[in-house]
Amino acid sequence: MAMVLLVEDDAAIRTALTRALRELGHGVTSVSSGMPALSAAVEQKPDVVLLDLGLPDIDGADVLSMLRAVSDVPVIVATARDEESEMVRLLEIGADDYVIKPFTAVQLNARIRAVLRRTGRTDEDPMITVGGLKIDTRSYEVTVDGRPVELARKEFELLLALARRAGGVVTKRDLLAEVWQLAWGGSDRTVDVHLSWLRRKLGESAANPRYLYSVRGVGVRLAAPTEPS
């Protein structure tokens, strides 16, 4: 689906990620240090670069600066540090997004797709339509039957994750991984409470669902209403 340049010095992660991303349908080229990464980024013109910050030869942040001088390829930074200041710094020197270790392939895939969408490098339609529900993945606007809906960030991400797999049941575990990056203390109830808000804002309830159906013991399904309510 996308050509990914993986810059990662840890062999175990490199192998695992390459395999996981290929399984998810991406083409993967991997390098283990900064200099080869720069030349690969220029020569192979990947769709997205996944850059680990701890590289043996050049600091990841410097690789990013150098890369930005020659290319505007989307870069997702993988970092072990989760301080806000670090994130801001990375975004300021040209990162398009970041994932915090330890991440999962599902999460990474969601990030890759989001970045590609934002940078217009995907053939995916930026508008997702499920019945009367319209989600603009670029402007983050949601309307239900033409009526705009104000969503918090997590609510939007949750809706998007469900809408992308409209009709299918998404497990709460997957939602936690994709939307919450499996934050500590994250539990099914976290998903539940956000779903409640989402339902409320979409103008429905668990007892009278239109778009959001809880499938007990499995997960959540987003589907167009079968009949107008």
């Binding site: 992660i13 996981a20 500590w184 994250g186």
Partner: protein, 447 residues
Amino acid sequence: MRRRILLLVVGMTTLVVVAFAIPVGILLHSAVAQRAELATRDQARSVAIFLSGAPSTTAIKSYVTSVSASTGRPTSVTLADGTTYGTTPTDPRAAQFRQTPGGGLPTNFPGGGTGQTGGGPNGGAPDATLHPVPGGQLAETTVRTSTTIYFIRVYLSNGALHAGEAKWWLLLVGGSLGLLLLGVVAAELLTRRIVRPLLRTAETAQQLAVGDTTARAPTTGPHEVAEVGSALNRLADRIDELIAEERETVADLSHRLRTPLTALRLDAEALRDPDDAERVGNHVSSLERMLTAVIHAARRPQREGRMPASDATAVVGERVAFWSALADEQERATEVELPQSPLPVRASAEDLAAAIDALLENVIAHTPEGTAFSVRLDAADDGAVLEVADAGPGLPGDALVRGRSDRGSTGLGLDIARRCAEGSGGSMTLGRSTTGGALITLHLHPA
């Protein structure tokens, strides 16, 4: 130390005062006596001068009476014929002695109408001499006029000898006591200046010992005392630095663990058997949570400052409102009681929110849908009391016994709440609500 300084000063002052007051007292004693004797002799002389003017008998009488009364020293005048005006104790021996030379030396007393008084052997004014008599002294002199000779006696009793001395003694003792008092006041001021900063420095050391690393000693007072304070402060700063360094090292090491953990997670995901994948994935998840908690704890002071604080009313209100959507959906009757005013507690808003989330999540996870629950926040003397009660089946017995519970999908629910309460200096207690369900009470220390 205060008592010792006080004793020292009082002792020193007393010594100085005594060393000064005793000679002064002796001098005073004799000076007063001398003055009284001098005054007595002067009085005798004055009477002699008066008599040398040859006054009338009536005048002598009234003069003698008035002089006796005004000076308090009995005065008497005896004429040559033995007539006596006024009363004085007489010393027969002395009288005789006076009689003899007085009578025997008429030429030495050239009387005259000039009013010039006769003199004694020295030729000047008739000088009185003092003789001891029982109970006092007698000043005696004679004056000779052209017509007669007067014997003058002025009696100075032993009591009168030291009259007026009392007020001097009073002044001396008062002055001494005043000096002593001044010394005590000065000592008190001095010890306060020394002891107060020292006491506060000791207090600071105590606070540091119980873990309040923000405590700093005063650097006021005398130089040496201030030096003790600043030395303690330097030590406290150094402790802070060391702790910060240690925490940074822990955080850094934990961060580094995240890389192998990523590999582990990716590999776990790739396991063929979904059961294996889930089981290993769960292990990785809990490892991850632990690691995040470690980093979180290590970074806490850097993030929140050494004394985190938040408004419990606002945080509880906000979190309850957040969970209300799910509670409504599950048709749970919710009772919320919050104080009207802000309630600052010693916990960061983030931690407090996580604790409340954990408690509410527990209620929702472990009681059937439709079960009522209540959240109460009250101000207490020692901070705030947060009660989360539900009408569910209650906590398992062993949770009550052990005071902790592992229920909850993460196994961390109550631990998060407990850590928040204990981190603030408070505590968490588990109990049974009035409806038989679980009652979890967080005592939070005030900010």
